[in-house]
Symmetry: C2
Subunit: 455 residues, 2 copies
């Protein structure tokens, strides 16, 4: 299939239908009206602004969460903004179907209306980046900038977003570290089309800095500071925010996700296919076969999933998985890979290790021999020798990997996410076996299909 | 037993008897006479000098090799010294019982006379360090300096030498790197007695520089250069040669051997015993039991012993043992210890490893993804993923340790001593088994009795 045919097939699935458009527009009109009413009832000087992909008309078919930002005058004190913002959010939500309070930098109201999720977020009514006071304030500026510059290329953005989703590189959440929607919009605006962005995957990386609004000329000092900071942190890409020279839009983008985009772009251009956008569900295999084939072993730590949002839970699971890996490596086991996640009410950490038993002795490096600690070490150890000026001793150790782990956990020598410590103490430790609902996960992990660039 | 009693017992065994003294003196007189005759017959202007422990009267009972140095005038060209020196050596040896030619910096004659080994070594008749031209020229100066300074403490030197032998720290050969006889003599002259040297084991290390002839005052520039050079090379001790400010007498002394001396000195002073001087033969155990106890495995490379002197063979065996260790570690095996040596006509290298099989896959780190090599690596590998900007791939590998080793040797990826390469290609590789004559060696190695500080 050629590129045009693939694109047209994909657009059929991701472009909202006329019917959906009408629904979305009506929804926004209604919510806008209800918001203005509530503002009036509370006697507030607040401007409601729709932001996000609905407001920019870059949403994918079927994916239409509403973001309504409630912009308070700049002179409002922060405390007042928090308090009145939440009150106003609730007042609006009362007119919708249902709601709950969610927490980001500030609390905000997450409501439901006609089956759609509606976020009601208080912010400042900023006119320029110099006014920005809270993390969400830029959203109104972003929406305005995209709408002024997109010039009808909305479907190109839709294609790029769906492509990034298909290759698992979409989302700027800390546990994803991929491309944000705003970044996708900027790239399309800068390079003209979905295909042009893909063609430039190598060029973009080499060019390193993208500066659509010429901040490096208009505000050289501030913009250079941004570039220097991000270069020092070795970011793959620096996209100076068109609405704020202090910010790198792709600050959260990881090398891994750029790498996926890099290879998949090349492959798509060589051999276009709908599968890049809508990958087939990975073929499931048998994890036990995979273990036999590889001659490795699977250790799974399974525990109650703490009631935490993904933004908190997933980074802690990642930290803990790394902690287990380091502890085992220190003890002489080799860790080939780590994996984590949750399924139902259970959280899990998986480690692929080279063996389940180590020798009964360990070579333990000690201090230099002529020190106080050296003389102690010499006294305390039976089998002790020198390599250069350093003492070494042979120590008896437990052999079984689970005994090793239990002792480490007991002595708090595994670095764990702070909200997981208690849960891990009551965890089940499974060896070369996982319960039914994790069989697929274990297979994807062990076969490396989970993080493989080649699916 | 108190120190005095131990010392007196040891002296009984190491001090030459009156009978032995008479024999040695007569031997030197005779050989000296024969040498002078030969010099006369050849019409040479050469002075014969006895050097070494016989000439200094610091030899141990029963250990009386004769060193006769043949000192040529300084104006003799080096070529002439080599040629005439060898000729003279042969002429003297003809008057003794038998001889052969040995090779150091220059060839020399090694003769036998009345059951004693007699080295006949040509050198220059140097009066001062400024005259020194070959490595052996200093010996005459060393002998003279010791004889002028020892002041009757010859038995103290004998005690220190025997103590160093007992704790396996004696000998400055490159494959021992312990204390030379001359170093032992200097230490006794400097600190007054065997016991005082032991008491100063910590002090000597901290003081770092010993300069009995005050070279740092007399030749500050040259002596400081020596100190700086040796400090940079992180030597445990710097003893400026009393007869040559350019030389560190303890230049070959390793931290390991100083460490042994350090701990054993302290232990001897706390609990004196004859066993420090004459250690009991290590109790022999069963190496197979040791392997079971430790949960480790023994790999032995056994091959024809190349016809090389220890000075050449042993360093090459050490290098090869290290080469095997590095190669195996690179391939995912852990090496707990290495050992080498020869026994009869066979040379061997032993490696204690953590296991005999590894998993069937290996995680192979690749280049950065956005390079030419990165794109190649991506193309060539099936299971490939990113960690940061670096590509990784999973590769299938052979599992058995012998298959791994054979492949490495085949591809010349084990760093071996240059004279051993061919022999290793025809070697036997033994797993958890050694032939009868190596059973004791294997036990001493695996039980760490061989290099243990605690015997």
């Amino acid at each position: 299939m050629d590129v045009e045919a693939v694109i047209s097939r994909v657009l059929q699935r991701i472009k909202p239908t006329e019917e959906e458009r009408v629904f979305v527009e009506e929804l926004m009109r209604e919510i806008g009206k209800l918001a203005r009413e509530a503002i009036k009832e509370l006697g507030l000087n607040v401007k409601p602004h729709f932001v996000g992909s609905l407001a920019k008309d870059t949403y994918l078919a079927g994916d239409h969460d509403v973001d309504l930002f409630l912009a308070f005058p700049l002179e409002t004190p922060l405390e007042e903004l928090r308090e009145k913002g939440l009150k106003l959010g609730k007042a609006i939500a009362e007119k919708l179907d249902s709601y709950e309070i969610a927490y980001a930098e500030h609390p905000y109201v997450r409501a439901k209306y006609r089956g759609v999720s509606v976020d009601l977020v208080p912010c400042y009514d900023v006119k320029t980046w110099r006014d920005v006071r809270t993390a969400v304030d830029r959203s109104i500026l972003h929406t305005r900038w995209v709408n002024e510059n997109i010039k009808g290329r909305n479907d190109e953005v839709r294609l790029l977003k769906r492509f990034l989703k298909g290759i698992k590189a979409y989302g700027s959440e800390i546990y994803v570290r991929g491309f944000s929607g705003y970044l996708a919009e900027i790239l399309v605006i800068k390079y003209g089309s979905f295909i042009e962005v893909l063609r430039k995957a190598d060029f973009i990386l080499r060019q390193k800095v993208i500066d659509p609004e010429n901040w490096l000329r208009r505000e050289p000092e501030i913009a250079m500071k941004t570039v220097k900071r991000e270069v020092e942190e070795d970011k793959p890409l620096i996209v100076i925010d068109p609405v704020d020279p202090r910010r790198n839009v792709s600050s959260n983008l990881s090398w891994e996700k750029y790498g996926v985009f890099y290879f998949k772009s090349g492959e798509f251009l060589q051999k276009p296919s709908v599968e890049f956008f809508f990958p087939p569900v990975a073929t499931r295999g048998n994890y036990a076969d995979e273990l036999r084939r590889k001659g490795t072993h699977l250790l799974t730590v399974l525990f109650e999933r703490p009631k935490l949002v993904d933004d908190i839970l997933l980074p802690q699971l990642e930290k803990s998985a790394r902690g287990f890996e380091k502890a085992l490596e220190r003890e002489g086991f080799r860790v080939f890979g780590r994996n984590y996640g949750y399924s139902g009410g259970k959280a899990f950490i998986m480690l692929e290790v080279d063996r389940l038993e180590r020798p009964a002795v360990k070579v333990h490096p000690g201090p230099e021999f002529f020190t106080e600690r050296g003389r102690d070490f010499y006294r305390k150890n039976e089998r002790v020798w020198l390599v250069g000026k350093r003492l070494y001793a042979e120590k008896r150790v437990v052999q079984d990997i689970l005994d090793v782990l239990f002792a480490l956990i007991e002595k708090n020598q595994v670095s764990l996410g702070k909200n997981l410590r208690e849960a891990v103490k009551d965890a089940d430790f499974l060896v070369d076996y996982v319960p039914g609902q994790l069989e697929g996960e274990a297979y994807l992990f062990l076969s490396r299909k989970k993080d493989s660039l080649k699916g």
